[in-house]
């Protein structure tokens, strides 16, 4: 039998949700198996780093890399898989723009460790802290060194394609897999390098079923503070801070449709440098106040704007990277 192209999937700093999403494509997974030889997928099968290290450069055709780069191990694997793969795909929000783990960049590494090891919620009477290197009788023990800032994949290695979402919607994944297979069968061309796959042209509002009117916000509120939510009216118009307007479409507006504000997991839409900046700009524009004092009062109700606007995009944001990690086309 002829050699099937090799497929790999790896999780760096991530929750594993992306893997679930992949399995969520149901029967389609059989097509993957039919067309690929899965060589490395820690979640799904037993494999050792050294096996990968022994491969030829570029031996793997397609690697779906999810999770962000939090420590030296993540970084090592990113570089390794980059070397070994023809196509490296930043898969899911973490790999794309840092996602929830990226919010750690708002604190110093020291603060992070304090929270992890010395807050009341931690049972650590001796106040033990992890040591990257420990001398024991048998020799030196090391654990992966913790990087001071968390970075999306593209800031560490060169990335071929991006599939955003937390996690990427299964139907989008399926579609991408179809494309890849079509390419393998010579029926289609690869999209240009750096393309975004499984994303729409517009923003979540485009797919949102709620009715929208001209916007004037006098008071912001939070979903838990609302007595009742109009099931058909735009959430923003009800004073809820919804990231939909500045988030790439592709998810089918699941959250707003269900009455929850869009958290922004699909990242900025095409050609936008920084989703947060767009939210700041557009929200501030529709606040219906002219008096500085009143403006402050209104904005006081917009709790933790940084967290709200950058819940997923912080590590990939214009400011955090100093580099437009998000430079599409």
């Amino acid at each position: 039998m002829t050699q099937k192209p090799k497929f790999a999937m790896y999780w760096a700093a991530s929750c594993g949700g992306c893997e679930i999403a992949v399995l969520n494509i149901h029967e389609k997974i059989l097509d993957v198996d039919k067309n690929f030889e899965v060589v490395f997928w820690p979640v799904a099968m037993d494999a050792k780093y050294k096996d990968v290290e022994q491969m030829q450069d570029g031996e793997i055709l397609l690697t779906l890399f999810n999770g962000s780069i939090r420590n030296q191990e993540n970084e090592h694997m990113a570089q390794l898989l980059r070397r070994k793969s023809k196509l490296l795909v930043a898969f899911g929000s973490c790999a794309n723009e840092g996602c929830i783990p990226g919010l750690a960049n708002l604190s110093t590494a020291a603060q992070i460790f304090d929270t992890a090891y010395s807050t009341p919620s931690t049972d650590n009477p001796q106040g033990i802290r992890p040591q990257f290197q420990v001398q024991v009788a048998e020799g030196t023990l090391t654990i992966p060194v913790f990087n001071p800032v968390l970075r999306p994949l593209a800031q560490v290695v060169d990335v071929d394609y991006y599939i955003p979402g937390c996690p990427p919607e299964s139907h989008q994944i399926a579609a991408v897999i179809d494309v890849v297979i079509a390419v393998l069968e010579g029926k289609a061309e690869l999209p240009p390098k750096g393309s975004f796959l499984g994303v729409g042209d517009s923003t979540v509002c485009d797919e949102c079923p709620r009715t929208r009117n001209e916007k004037q916000v006098r008071q912001f509120t939070r979903i838990q503070e609302m007595k009742e939510i109009d099931p058909n009216l735009c959430l923003l118009e009800q004073g809820l801070v919804c990231n939909g307007p500045a988030t790439a479409s592709g998810c089918g507006a699941l959250c707003p449709a269900a009455g929850a504000t869009c958290a922004g997991c699909y990242g900025p839409p095409l050609g936008v440098l920084d989703a947060g900046a767009r939210m700041i700009s557009s929200l501030a524009s529709i606040v219906d106040e002219h008096d500085p004092r009143k403006i402050d009062i209104t904005l006081d109700d917009l709790v933790d704007p940084t967290g709200v606007f950058y819940r997923f995009g912080l590590a990939g944001s214009l400011l955090q990277t100093g580099k437009a990690s998000w430079n599409k086309n």
Partner: protein, 678 residues
Amino acid sequence: MTSSSGKNGNHRVGVYVCHCGSNIAGVVNVFEVAKWAQENLADQGVVVAKEYKFMCSSLGQKLIEEDIQKEKLDRVVVAACSPHLHEKTFRGAAARAGLNPYLCEMASVREQVSWVTEDKQMATEKAKAMVSAAVARVRQHEPLDPIRVPINSSTLVVGGGIAGIQASLEIANSGFHVYLVEREPSIGGHMAQFDKTFPTLDCAACILTPRMSEAGMHPNIELLTWSEVENVEGYLGNYTVTVRKKARYVDVSLCTGCGICQQKCPRKVIDETFDAGIGYRKAIYTPFEQAVPKFPVLDRDNCTYFEKGTCRACEKFCAPGAIKLDDQDEIVQLNVGNVILATGYDTFDARRIPRYGYGKLPNVFTSIEFERMCNAAGPTNGAIVLRDGKTPPKSVGIIHCVGSRDHKYNSYCSAICCMQSLKFAHMVKERTGADVFNFYIDMRTAAKDYDEFYQKVLEEGTNLIRGKVAEVTDGGLFDEKPGQLIMQVEDTLIGKQRRIPVDMVILAIALEPRHDATAVAHQFGISCSTNGWFTEKHPKLDPVATMTDGIFIAGCASGPKDIPSSVAQGSAAAARVVSYIQQKELSLEPVRASINAEQCSGCRICNNLCPFNAISFDEVNLVSEVHQALCQGCGTCVAACPAGAITGTGFTNEQVLAQIEGLLRVPVHLETAHPVAV
């Protein structure tokens, strides 16, 4: 490495650094700048960089033109003075050389560098930065063409006061059509209410009525009285205005203006408007004899027929059967190229200052009431009498600045009250021989022949007391003569409190913006000052234009004025309009926003950000659209669009971001290295 100069990689850019004699070269090392550009901006596509004594000179321009052709330049950067000064010049040069003018960018190294910086070295570095920014920016430029719009030759004039009448006549006389919209039943405005006009004391009616009838009969003027503007759409050259012609209940095609209906109407009503509340009219009425048009209107709120369904006296007696009790409001659409707002002013409500007793003490009058009283055609046929309607006053007190120059009411000066009050003083003396006391804070008579008039009034023996009246009380309370009014005042010239008994008090009330001024401003897309008057484009150099092209203002709408200035403004606004109409079509800067329908999600955040109503929502495709000719190019929507679907020509994200990178490329100071932009 630049994130924003992704597309159009290889350009051929020419950089031209101007000495401006020693203006720039005296501080900035222009040679170094040019050299630096040549060497360090090669990666940015700079192929030539030259300095020259005077770039704006014909030789300097020639230099650029030649290079464009010789060096096949497709972008030009001129580092010289402010673009507000010479942008046109250099764009012109580029155009002459066959390059789209909008592919030429300027760096203001004179106004922003050489003239304002002491340290020559830092100046030179800043100049470099600005050049590199201009280069980075111009690489992102795209060829543009100015927008052309035709101009409709009809004009809408709102407000039939003297300013509006004047403007209408000027335009009509130069052969163009005018729609004159007036809220009241007749044109004439406040001036028609007055008796005499200062300082010449010629009778207002005598000089106004000819103008009114001229406007009424002019073939190019279409009067829409008893009408109000409902809605305005469009832009310079092409406005569509919706006007509501309120039901008159009189068929003007049949009415002869004989006035029998008014005689026969049994219903007497206080005339709050024209007679300022001190006279009566009928329920069906023309505000005054010389009204233009002469057709009456029926005031349905006070008409017995509309209350009880009976009466119909007017109908019975009207020979031509012009009374039309089933009349309805009519909506008309006007297409005009320009608009002149001459909406005039309201008067201050003297009840707001209870200590002057207006509304409580019968013999306290406002200036506008007194104007009506003096008017020969007014409720007293010109007799100056007390509220009882017969007794002439033996002494009269006139208070200046009522509601003006007072932080509690209006902090501004109403400009006309001093002269008006002096005019009153004169008329009281002339007609009743009563003693007159004028209470003023400062005397403001600064215009032709005004101070002469003041002198004249002084010589007539008017008592001028410098001081703000504290209060007006009923003398009846104390041993002072009953029925008299006591004016309590500190005479600041002698530094004493005085209690001056008078029979009649006249309050020279302030001029205020129309109660609906802000609404009107919003309707026409112009702005109001903090005091509520319409703001002019430039208070000195462009006093009759507004920030919105094609909307002009005249008369008191933009602030208190006397009749001469209002008339002058009427003519001025007319002249501006005619000059536009003569151009037939207009070319506008192509700095405009446009929406990419693909990317637009129809979130509608941009929809009411535009003060010029240029953004509309396409209900069918659920996307927003920008109307090119309405758009003024401020770019607010561009910055606000959450989807990044709106781009603004001339100031695109790419252009600005590139410019920022360019600026950051050069450290502020040689010694302080800075991380370069990425």
